[in-house]
Subunit: 348 residues, 2 copies
């Protein structure tokens, strides 16, 4: 029997947990009823978890539970949380990875604390200089990866090159058949545009593009992030975070205004009956829950952060993502990509 892929899940993190987490588990298990190569290892209050499992009629064949006593609160600061975290579901969830019991960790809990604990427990890979936070972004042809989304405010050209390799490895672990197309986010597509750091990263990426890990596509501007022509979009953590939140804000603003217009009066409400299915399809196509899950890259094990406010379906998508990532053997992909950068650096 080959060892099963194990996803360690913090069952207590985020709003409405463990209810939401267990309902997410149920959706995931139903979707994967014919697969038997995985185990979901839940960390949290065993009694509460069991109660929810029973309530949802979940068979425990593919489930393992480890009882933990406490939970990291949403308003804990990284500093206070680190001191008192050894009994928490989050700590033990991540810890199971270095003990060889799990291949990936997933939590919807406090982001700041999750990043700090992951780094403390899993440690950075030797090959990596800065870990990065990557996200999935919808586009015209499917989805792409964007990083860094806020782990590193100041980045030099080597960090951006490293993010390109990390992002390409992530993309290939999720979509095994594609050769990732990598673009650098900038304020113009011409070679002379942008900061000195970007210009230096551009030159280095052009050289690496001849190798086998990814195709470098040059600069792209913010309005091209969703055209589907890039699989991995690389930027520093400050710009990435602003871009992500601006996109979220814009999407919310537009859909709120659409809702307002469609429910303003009796006639427009009446019209909703007719456009119901079309609008439902529209909503489904752009459902943010599909893109739920930011991936912390560069540690000796992958960690996925689910949005704290997502629901059971959103949480199930982040379990999907974990499953894909470990099936695609992300860590091996990263090591392969980065050995190559390091060799190149040594050669030059």
């Amino acid at each position: 029997m080959t060892k099963k892929l194990t996803i360690a899940i913090d069952a207590m993190g985020g709003d409405h947990s463990p209810e939401k987490v267990i309902q997410g588990v149920e959706i995931f298990l139903k979707k994967n009823s014919t697969n038997s190569d995985f185990i979901l290892h839940l960390f949290g209050d065993e009694e509460k978890i069991n109660k929810e499992l029973t309530k949802n009629n979940i068979n425990k064949d593919k489930i393992k539970i480890t009882h933990t006593k406490s939970v990291i609160s949403d308003d804990a600061t990284p500093l206070t949380a680190v001191k008192n975290s050894k009994d928490t579901s989050m700590w033990n969830c991540i810890k199971s990875q270095i003990e060889g019991e799990a291949d990936i960790s997933l939590s919807a809990g406090n982001t700041g604390v999750l990043l700090i604990l992951s780094r403390m427990i899993l440690k950075m890979m030797n090959e990596v200089n800065k870990p990065a936070l990557a996200g999935l972004w919808p586009n015209e042809k499917g989805m792409n990866v964007v990083l860094d989304l806020g782990a590193n405010i100041d980045c030099n050209e080597d960090n951006l090159v490293e993010f390109s390799e990390l992002g390409a490895a992530l993309y290939r672990s999720i979509f095994p058949n594609d050769k990732p197309i990598v673009s650098l986010l900038n304020i113009g597509s011409e070679e002379i545009k942008g900061t000195e750091t970007l210009k230096k990263a551009y030159k280095k990426l052009q050289l690496l593009s001849n190798e086998n890990n990814f195709i470098f596509n040059g600069y792209i501007e913010g309005n091209k992030m969703m055209d589907g022509n890039s699989n991995v979009i690389v930027t520093d953590g400050f710009t990435g975070n602003v871009a992500l939140k601006t996109a979220e804000g814009t999407a919310k603003f537009i859909t709120d205004n659409l809702k307002k217009s469609l429910t303003e009066n009796l006639f427009s409400k009446f019209s909703l009956i007719f456009s119901y299915f079309a609008l439902k399809k529209f909503k489904k196509r752009l459902d943010p829950r599909k893109y739920n899950g930011a991936i912390f890259l560069g540690l000796n094990g992958p960690v996925v952060k689910s949005h704290g406010g997502t629901d059971a379906l959103g949480f199930s998508y982040s379990i999907d993502l974990c499953y894909k990532i470990i099936k695609g053997d992300l860590i091996k992909q990263i090591k392969k990509n980065l050995s190559h950068v390091n060799n190149d650096n040594k050669e030059s």
Copy 2:
């Protein structure tokens, strides 16, 4: 008779000019038929302009024309354009401001060249260290000002403070009764977040906030840019440009997908009949043409850049903007705001 407010218009810039420009002029004149305190001074091919004026039945009472021989092409680089620009509509349009013939310039032509020519001809105000490009941004309560949108990639804290004063002056010239609320764009709202430059700008703005020009609201994140709680949002030109284009790309992505869903099959097309008015209202509310016009701030005269691809209605909105800006006496507002910064700097 008091001197009339004069808007110098490059009639030849952008797509489909001068047709579009003259049609935009017509829309503006109709809207302002009862106002007689302004002159629209058109620069370009006199014959073509006159032909369009006749075609659109436009009375020339409020119009002045200066014939110019050539046009700056859309693909001219600033370097080549500057050398051969003295006979162009753009050059002469801006030039009329230093000759005291106009109070503001408007062009839909080549952005890079417009910025360079404006700076060459109008020169920076003594009070200013870096000129900035500001834009109008829709929000839940109306619209706000965002700057810098790309004129300056590298900015220090004093530049950000200056942008705050420039943006506040612009906002007050457009909305004379409001005391502008200024926010700094960052990746978190807590005081400890962000780059060192932002932290220093935060402290300086807190001190200035007690004075009379604006209320400093602290940091905001990208997803709050459209909530209507800030009137002026300040950032460096790199981040501002990425945020602007990401918002544009997101808006396009969502509306394209909405269109696709609503026209996918016969039933969804049929439903459009019923939701037509609601969707029209939605479209009108978010019409990007309403926000057409980026304002170049910090020179000895205001310059407005219309989107090159906008239509007549979009162009008319940028004439509206020019009219508001000079009625609100932007340059006086800026001098007032900046004398105050400079005094504070001298005192400290």
